[in-house]
């Protein structure tokens, strides 16, 4: 049996940073240089006046590694705060995927039917293809994509996870 301290867990971290050149390279360099995993990473400016961006990173590791990742991120000079949402409490995670499916006849009808169940929208359509837009958590997107494989899936583009704490909780600003 693997001891608890050796178990790999997936964590979602929300990182508030100065929106300045090199800040993303600094974060990515930290992960590659220290051998940490990145499962997904999203970044965008969220406050034009304060010039702040939020980076959401999904990573995995043992509890000791996860603690290190948070501490190492907090050590970077242009980082205002790091929230480990997985530890801190309930939060919402969303991801968007664009899924291209080629097919005619029965398969095409089946693809539309499943898309409907998943509340995916067709955002582009030709006689023999669809592009579906689907929003949800990572698990939902994975399930949809899996179902599309036998129906002619040929291309997927995903945004990675954006996340935010539930309720009245405000994530760290400093």
């Amino acid at each position: 049996m693997t001891p608890i301290s050796e178990l790999q867990n997936t964590h979602t971290m929300s990182v508030l940073v100065d929106n300045e050149p090199g800040v993303l390279a600094r974060v990515i360099g930290l992960f590659s240089g220290r051998g940490y995993n990145i499962e997904s990473l999203t970044v965008a400016e969220i406050d034009v006046e304060e010039n702040l961006s939020r980076i959401t990173i999904v990573t995995s590791g043992t509890p000791m590694v996860i603690e290190q990742i948070k501490a190492q991120l907090e050590r970077l000079v242009p980082i205002h705060g790091v929230n480990d949402l997985t530890i801190e409490g309930p939060h919402v995670e969303r991801e968007l995927a664009l899924v291209k499916v080629l097919g005619v006849g029965e398969k095409r009808v089946e693809a539309l039917r499943i898309a409907d169940i998943f509340r995916a929208r067709a955002v582009d359509s030709t006689n023999d293809s669809f592009i579906f837009e689907i929003v949800g958590d990572t698990g939902k997107l994975n399930a949809f994509i899996e179902l599309m494989v036998p129906l002619g899936l040929i291309d997927v583009s995903r945004t990675g996870v954006a996340a935010i704490a539930r309720g009245t909780v405000v994530m760290d600003h400093d």
């Binding site: 100065d18 050149p21 090199g22 390279a25 600094r26 360099g29 240089g33 000791m64 603690e67 290190q68 501490a71 190492q72 907090e74 050590r75 970077l76 000079v77 242009p78 980082i79 205002h80 400093d174």
Partner: protein, 587 residues
């Protein structure tokens, strides 16, 4: 353009002066000419012209570590910046506050593979605490002040400012340091009082306690070393120091067990292994210190004080982590200890000290004193004895056996007197570092304890010493080998000394003279004291070539992959494979 506006180069010089900088180590080039022109027009800040940029960074490190101030480096773009990289990482690993200003090609040429262009911020990102590319002269003064703040606050480190030539020549208003407040970087200085209280409680319940202190105490300032001494004396706890921490507690203090780790003393390592409460003060559980991790101090409750939260629980899981400046935390700790009239169990402490004194009797640093040739340990011992009476003695080292012998046999009573490359282990560190120390302390006796291999890595700085009349003393323990490599080849690779013997070496006496310094040599034991005496008396740069036993190894030693209680003391212990396969993988 308003009348008060200054050029970027002028802003730099003004900002440096406002930051209290009195000396800059540098080397000119095309991309920094406007800055050098400003240097020419002023006399507030001294510029020291090194012979290679690597030397400039180590010199600034020596300056910073012996004064507690920020060291400043100025280099040109491209190769100037890349030559500085090793020194920057060295400063990063050993937490030395530096600001390194690199020239850069003009902003419109960045990314075009221009002459002497390098992606300096890209290259230095993982080896600095922070770096800036200043593209707009309006931000320049602010960035420079921020750089100094970042370099010296929290856990100190090197900061690079990449400075394009057109920005040097652009004009803007100057912003004084007082107006610059950092938006995001605010390290925690005071420790959590509840945790400190908890620590004091654990310490009072200890039966076999140990304080393990490191470079963080030195970085916190001389006051922290005094507080450490007070804590040690108030608690009567034994104390060991890391390589970087030497001097934080006086070597003559009866509580001092010597340095710990791979070449630490038997008593320090055994106490680490057997203690029941370990108080780590500003050290980072480096692999040279811990030895085999799964056998590291198995039965102790561990308390760790560090200003860098990422140091806590990085290599070793601790029971109580206190984030804060060690000076502040020690102050609170001592207050709580004294006000609570705390005291560890007297009977247990008596028996613990008895055990420690028994370990001390093993005299793990002993060597063959009767030898006819000069043993390197003897050379250091004599150097210590003959310089003891000098007012101010500062020691720097290169990297290798001589470094460990210096750490073992030279004794430091005060902080900031010992400059060595601990984390990165940079050969060539000692000579330029000594240069920086001598500049900061013109009247002091500054000695670089060196090996004949390391010294050749930055020997060009002898020329700088002569130019500025800096009487640094280079004390070479010359055994014609890269001694530490040779020792490991003896221990791990069946004595196959692949490429560790220097089959051709310069005549160091003539070399010193060629540079315009003084060369001395001791080949026999009876010459040693005279050579050291002559070296100390000389008011010029000296190279003293001490021809020591060629095959002496550095003991005691924890072989790689072994635990603290598995030390070897000499060649007699090496016989039955002291190193495992797993250990061989480790460095």
């Amino acid at each position: 353009m308003s009348k008060n506006q200054m050029s970027g180069a002028q802003i730099l010089l003004k900002a440096l002066a406002d930051q209290g900088v009195d000396v800059v180590f540098g080397y000119p080039g095309g991309a920094v000419l406007p800055i050098y022109d400003e240097f020419f027009k002023q006399n507030k800040i001294r510029h020291i012209l090194v012979r290679q940029e690597g030397g400039a960074v180590h010199a600034a490190e020596g300056y910073a570590r012996s004064t507690g101030k920020v060291g400043v480096v100025l280099v040109t773009s491209g190769p100037g910046a890349t030559n500085a990289v090793t020194g920057l990482l060295d400063a990063m690993m050993d937490s030395v506050p530096l600001v390194c200003i690199c020239g850069q090609v003009p902003t419109h040429l960045i990314g075009n593979d221009a002459f002497q262009e390098a992606d300096t911020t890209g290259i230095t990102r993982p080896c600095t605490k922070h770096n800036y590319l200043v593209k707009n002269v309006d931000n320049l003064a602010r960035r420079i002040h921020e750089a100094f703040y970042v370099a010296k606050s929290g856990r100190p480190g090197p900061v690079v400012i990449d400075f394009p030539k057109d920005v040097m020549m652009g004009h803007a208003d100057y912003v004084p340091p007082a107006k610059v407040v950092h938006k995001s970087y605010k390290p925690q200085i005071k420790g959590d009082l509840a945790k400190i209280e908890q620590a004091v409680k654990i310490m009072a319940g200890a039966k076999k306690p140990l304080i393990y202190a490191g470079g963080g105490v030195i970085n916190s300032g001389p006051g922290a070393s005094q507080l450490l001494t007070q804590l040690v004396q108030a608690t009567d706890f034994p104390c060991t120091l890391t390589l970087m921490g030497l001097g934080a507690l006086a070597a003559s203090d009866k509580h001092f067990l010597g340095m710990l780790g791979m070449h630490g003393t038997y008593e320090a390592n055994m106490a680490m292994h057997d203690c029941d409460v370990m108080v780590c003060v500003g050290a980072r559980f480096d692999d040279r210190v811990t030895g085999r991790l799964d056998a590291f101090s198995p039965d102790s409750v561990k308390i760790h004080i560090d200003i860098d939260p990422s140091s806590i629980n990085k290599n070793v899981h601790v029971d109580l982590g206190i984030v804060g400046d060690v000076g502040h935390v020690l102050e609170d700790m001592i207050k709580l200890w004294k006000s609570g009239q705390k005291r560890a169990d007297e009977k247990a402490m008596k028996s613990w000290w008895k055990t420690i004194n028994k370990w001390r009797e093993r005299k793990s640093l002993d060597y063959d004193r009767a030898a006819k040739n000069i043993k390197p340990q003897y050379a250091i011992e004599r150097l210590y004895e003959l310089t003891k009476k000098q007012n101010e003695v500062y020691i720097t080292t290169e990297v290798g056996q001589h470094q460990m012998w210096a750490a073992q046999h030279f004794h430091f009573e005060r902080p900031n007197r010992w400059m060595t490359s601990g984390g990165l282990g940079t050969m060539g560190y000692g000579l330029p570092a000594a240069m920086g120390v001598q500049l900061a302390h013109p009247k002091a006796l500054v000695i670089d304890i060196a090996g004949e291999a390391s010294i050749l890595m930055n020997i060009q700085e002898m020329s700088t010493l002569v130019q500025y009349n800096l009487p640094v003393k280079v004390f070479i323990l010359n055994n014609e080998y890269m001694g530490m490599v040779r020792q490991w080849q003896e221990l791990l690779h069946g004595g196959r000394y692949a490429e560790s013997h220097m089959q051709a070496l310069p005549d160091f006496v003539k070399l010193a003279e060629a540079f315009g310094g003084v060369g001395l040599r001791a080949e026999k034991k009876e010459q040693l004291d005279d050579v050291i005496g002559e070296m100390i008396e000389c008011d010029r740069p000296v190279i003293a070539d001490i021809c020591v036993d060629k095959l002496e190894s550095c003991y005691p030693m924890i072989p790689s992959g072994a635990a603290h209680n598995e030390m070897i003391f000499g060649p007699e212990d090496e016989t039955d494979d002291p190193v495992t396969e797993d250990g061989m993988v480790l460095v």
